[in-house]
Amino acid sequence: MAFEFELPPAPTQNIKVDLGEGDLVRRSASTVPPPAKKLTPVAKLIDVSKCIGCKACQVACLEWNDRTERIGFNYGVYDNPVDLTPESFTVMRFTEWVNPESQNLEWLIRKDGCMHCEDPGCLKACPAPGAIVQYSNGIVDFDHEKCIGCGYCIKGCPFDIPRISAVDHKAYKCTLCSDRVAVGQGPACARTCPTHAIVFGTKEEMKQHAAERIKDLQSRGYKNAGLYDPPGVGGTHVMYVLQHADKPEIYADLPKDPRISPVVEFWKGLTKYAGMAAMGAFAAVGVFHYLVSGPNKVQPKDEEDAKRLAGGR
C-alpha cells in the first residue's frame, strides 16, 4: 500500500515557484504589507517512535543544502556531530532512558533542528532588516545576504538552534527546504527518511496523521504518547510525536514549555521604547532649558574678581 504522505518526485518542467516576497508575513527589523493570499500552513512531523537513527536525514540535509561537514571526532556516543553546526542543520540526538515504570531501557532518538515557530524568537531578536523572514505557510528562513552575524538570533531562539559560521560570520539553520517547498516538494530529510518517521504536508494533515500515530502508540502501552506542538511559541511547523509527551525534556532536553525568553521580550520591547523616550526626553529638556534659561555667561564682574584674586597686571 502506498504511503499516504509520499512526497512527489522532483518536477522537471513547468516549475512554478510559489514562495516569494509577496508571501512574507514577518520580516526582521522591518514590516511587510499583509500578503494578498495566505498559503496553507505546512508542517514537518517527526515521529520519534518510528526513528531508527540511521541519519539518512542528516546526509540528505547536507547534500541538498550543499554543505560539507568537517570530519568529526568520535566522542564514544552515537551523536555525530555532537551538536548542530553551521553545516549540519539537523542532528540526531540519542538518549538512553530507563522507563521507571517498566524498567525498560528506551532508546530515544530525536531529530533536532529548527522548529519553525509560529512566533519566532530569532526573528524578533534580529536587528538586520530582512535577514530573517517568515512566510505565510509558516516557514522561517534566513537571508544570508542580509545577515550581519551578530548572533542575536541565538539569544532569541528558545530551542538553541541557529549557529554562526566562523567562515563567513553568518547564521545558519534548517530552512525547512523552503526552496523545495516553493516548487511543491517536501524537505530533503522527509523525502529520504526510510521509515516515514519524517513526514511533510499541510499542518492540518500532519496533525491528523499524528493523532492516528498517537492512538496507535497509546494502544500499545504508551499512555502518555502525544503531539509536541508547543503553544508557548504559537505552535511550531516542525512537530514531534513523542512516546512520552508528558516529559519532553527526556528527549535530549526538548523544552517542556518553550517560549521566547522574557528577558528577550523586555530587551526588544520595553527597553527599546523606554530607551528612545529617555534619550528623547533628555535632549528635549536640554533644548527647552536653553530656550527658557539661555546660556550661562561669565560676567565682566567675574573677570574683575578673578583679576583681583590672581593679581592682574
Binding site: 548572533g151 528612545m276 534619550m279 584674586l309
Partner: protein, 233 residues
C-alpha cells in the same frame, strides 16, 4: 602642597583677562579619543538596537562591519577612559559642598550662580557625570565581552548572554543620556569648551563656576612662579 582640587598642569596666568590652564594637551587628547569612541559606539550601537537606525551601519561599511568593529571601538574606549579616570578621579571625590550644591539644583538651572556654594575643579553635576560614566563603562565592557560571540561565545550560557545584552542596552541608553547632559552643560555654560580645545579658561569662568579650585590654584602657585608667569598671548 598637594592641593586636593588641583590637578597636574593646572595653573593661573595673571593678566587681563586672567587665564587659567585647566587641561594639559595629554588630558585633552585623551578626552577627544574617548569622545570619538563614545560617539562611534553610540552610532553603531543605536544602529544595532533600533531597526529605524539600521541605515547608520552604512557609515561603518555595512552591517557585518558594524557588528565586527563595535566591540573593538569599545576596547579602545575602555582603555582611553581608564586614562581619563586615572587623571580625574581624585578631583571627582565627593566633598561636603557637593550635597549643598545639588540641593540648590534649581539655582544651578536658573543661572543663579551666586547662591551656590563654592566648588572645586568639578561641581556635583560634573562628578555625577564622571562617576556615572565610570560605572556604566564598566557595565558596558563586561556585558559587551559576554555578547562578543566571535571570541567569547563558549564562556557563557545563552541565558547569561540574554541578560548581558539586556543590561548592555540599558547601560547604553543611560550613558547616552549622561552624554547628552555632559555635552549640553558644555554648550550652556559658556567658556567651557575652550578648556577641552585650547586647554584654558578665563579667570572669570573659574571664579564664577569653580571658585574653590581657583583660590587653591592661586594660593598654590604663589609659591611656584615658574608655572604661573608663562606668557599667555
Amino acid at each position: 602642597m598637594a592641593a586636593y582640587e588641583v590637578e597636574q598642569g593646572d595653573a593661573v596666568h595673571p593678566g587681563d583677562p586672567v587665564v587659567v590652564d585647566r587641561y594639559t594637551p595629554g588630558a585633552r587628547a585623551n578626552h577627544w579619543i574617548t569622545a570619538t569612541c563614545l560617539v562611534l559606539l553610540a552610532i553603531s550601537g543605536l544602529a544595532l538596537f533600533y531597526p529605524s537606525f539600521f541605515f547608520l551601519t552604512a557609515l561603518f561599511g555595512g552591517g557585518q562591519w558594524t557588528r565586527a568593529i563595535h566591540p573593538w571601538i569599545g576596547i579602545v574606549l575602555f582603555f582611553s577612559f581608564f586614562g581619563l579616570f586615572l587623571r580625574f578621579w581624585k578631583a571627582n571625590l565627593w566633598r561636603s559642598e557637593d550635597g549643598a550644591w545639588l540641593v540648590r539644583l534649581r539655582d544651578v538651572l536658573t543661572n543663579n550662580e551666586e547662591k551656590l556654594p563654592e566648588v572645586g575643579k568639578y561641581n556635583a553635576g560634573q562628578k555625577v557625570v564622571f562617576w556615572s560614566m565610570s560605572i556604566l563603562i564598566i557595565i558596558l565592557i563586561c556585558t559587551g565581552i559576554v555578547i562578543w560571540d566571535q571570541y567569547f561565545y563558549p564562556l557563557t550560557s545563552i541565558a547569561q548572554k540574554r541578560w548581558a545584552i539586556l543590561l548592555h542596552s540599558l547601560a547604553a541608553v543611560t550613558i547616552i543620556c549622561v552624554w547628552i547632559v555632559h555635552v549640553y552643560a558644555a554648550i550652556w555654560v559658556r567658556g567651557t569648551i575652550g578648556a577641552m580645545t585650547r586647554g584654558q579658561v578665563t579667570g572669570g569662568w573659574a571664579w564664577r563656576h569653580h571658585r574653590k579650585w581657583l583660590k587653591e590654584l592661586v594660593s598654590g602657585t604663589a609659591g611656584d612662579r615658574k608655572t604661573g608667569t608663562k606668557p599667555t598671548s
